[in-house]
Amino acid sequence: MTPLLSVRKLSRVFSSNGGFLRKKRQFRAVSDVSFDVRRGDVLGVVGESGCGKSTLARLVLRLIEPSAGAVMFDGQDIASLPAGAIRPLRRHFQMVFQDPYSSIDPRLTVRDALLEPFQVQDIKMTKVAAKSKIDALLTEVSLPLSMADSYQHQLSGGQKQRVGIARALALSPALVVLDEPTASLDVSIQAQVIALLQELRDRLDLTYMFISHDLALVQYFCDRILVMYLGRIVEILPRGELPVHPYTKALMDSAFVPDPNQRRDIPRIYGEIPSGYDEPTGCAFVGRCPLAEARCSKSLPRLQSLSENHAVACHVQGPVNVPMEFQNAL
């Protein structure tokens, strides 16, 4: 079966406008990213801020234009379609935004916010049909029906995010991109929302692309995980497999285990993600990597398969393609 979403060599470069005495600079937000999402899967994308995960989400939904590459959605390249041809397709792929406070218009009631997608798509409904649709959507995300007349400011963070999810589901999409949907919520509410998303996926046969900075959460929720660093994929990891790339390991070690009997020294990597301007010639992680060798700063490691679903881009930990007899020469 063809994957629902196939991304090939997708890149986006932002350039800052040069000016008097100022050089034009290029920022590579996403470079050469390729992956597939199978129907019914949850693909996780993890990385720290500035790694390009939100840009990737926006590129996949073509909310911004790619610089190069293809995004095949159900066999159609949505990266190269003219803008006018995209709009009718948008009902098949929707997004839930990170900040429910700013993604819902404060002057709309929940009812109006949920009816917006239908207006955008020019879908005419009778009043009765609209009411039953709203009721169905609110029930879907376990909100009381009376909430339809509330305004955004009357809801709690968790309720707002449920409205955001209901709005994304309004047009029965096949793919939902979730951009850190729980980042601004309490842990208790985060767990509620994740449980809801899981249930909706099973019931409505959805496919998710789930973006987060929390590796433990992504490992809990997703079938496959893309780990990004400075615009590139450094590892593609199936659920339940141990990470190989030193960056993924560092992310995993940075998680705080809720067990005081398993205390450990906390950081194993230092520093922060470098700027995306002036891309290094070698591996972008070289400055923070505990295993860095001379070759790491000279050439860019390519993403290579370890097994069918697992791939890693690392010179040191990656698969060795050199025949055994020459290995000592390296």
């Binding site: 449980a195 285990v257 009997n261």
Partner: protein, 318 residues
């Protein structure tokens, strides 16, 4: 005890956002305050910092004893000598605690000039020393930068250096890493832990993350709706959580190797202080409610070093 809060009750008009808060922290010790947003963690910090009058609140009952001195009895002038000097606060968003138009080094200087009476030159060398200890790369250069030129992690290090500049005995860190990336969060938490262990500071660490608590604290106070519902040493609290709310909070953390569908969260949400439920404040969300819970508020019971406010443990029975 370096600081002890005894039976604290505060009021904003008729509202009482904190009731019966009892906790303590010793030098060289980390006390964790944990709970969802709206549970009163930050309000507790504000009470200790003496900021309530500025916010329109007041202390209705109880004492806050810091190093033998009852802070509820002193005036604003004496409080000013303590604040930033012997008691320092680190807030969640470093950008709001830094002045955007003053070089970061000068901002750290100000605290040591004010509280330690250093002249400008002494203050600068102390600042550079502090920045170096916060592992800020090339402190001589960073001294002259403005906050917007630094990354989030570096800004938070500057704020910590600022808090330490007055040589405090007690540090209150209110969600110091919530705005930061995971790898940077781990570095900042590690830095705070080292400060406590090496310099014998007392630290009150406010967070909603039970993972951070488990990895760093010595003692924990779990707060819900303005009350401390469970209080005790960290290992015993995690091994045998007595209050259903503590148990629920721990189970909200996704862990490696958890089976899908096992993370359920806590149903409902924290009620607002205008609209508190009758009886135990947690009973509408609790999974083991007794009849008594709907009628009366459970009192805090202390038993061999740990306390819990729950009818399930009334009189020592499980």
């Amino acid at each position: 005890m370096l600081l002890s809060v005894e039976d604290l009750k505060i009021g904003f008009g008729l509202l009482e956002p904190l009731v019966g808060v009892d906790l303590g922290v010793d030098a060289g010790e980390i006390l964790g305050l944990v709970g969802e947003s709206g549970s009163g963690k930050s309000m507790t910090a504000m009470s200790i910092m003496g900021m309530l009058p500025l916010m329109g609140g007041r202390i209705k009952q109880g004492r806050i004893v810091f190093d033998g001195l009852d802070l509820t009895t002193i005036n604003e002038g004496s409080y000013r000598k303590l604040r930033g000097g012997r008691i320092a606060l680190i807030t969640q968003n470093p950008m709001t605690s830094l002045d955007p138009v003053v070089r970061v080094g000068r901002q750290i200087d100000q605290a040591s000039q004010l509280h330690l009476g250093l002249d400008r030159k002494e203050a600068k060398s102390r600042t550079i020393d502090l920045m170096d200890r916060m592992r800020i790369p090339s402190p001589q250069h960073a001294y002259d930068l403005f906050p917007h030129q630094l990354s989030g992690g570096l800004r938070q290090r500057i704020v910590i250096a600022m808090a330490l500049a007055g040589d405090p005995d007690l540090l209150i860190a209110d969600e110091p890493t919530t705005a930061l990336d995971v790898t940077v969060q781990a570095q900042i938490i590690q830095l705070l832990v080292e400060l406590v262990r090496d310099r014998g500071l007392g630290l009150i660490l406010i967070t909603h993350d039970m993972g951070v608590i488990a990895q760093t604290c010595d003692r924990v106070a779990v707060m819900y709706c303005g009350r401390v519902v469970e209080y005790g040493p960290v290992a015993r609290l995690f091994d045998d959580p007595r209050h259903p709310y503590t148990r629920a909070l721990i189970s909200c953390i996704p862990q490696l190797g958890m089976a899908p569908g096992t993370l359920t969260g806590i149903p409902g949400m924290v009620p607002s202080s205008q609209n508190l439920p009758k009886g135990c404040r947690f009973h509408p969300r609790c999974d083991s409610v007794l009849d008594n819970c709907r009628l009366r508020e459970p009192p805090m019971k202390t038993e061999d070093g740990r306390s819990v406010a729950c009818f399930l443990h009334e009189g020592g029975q499980r």
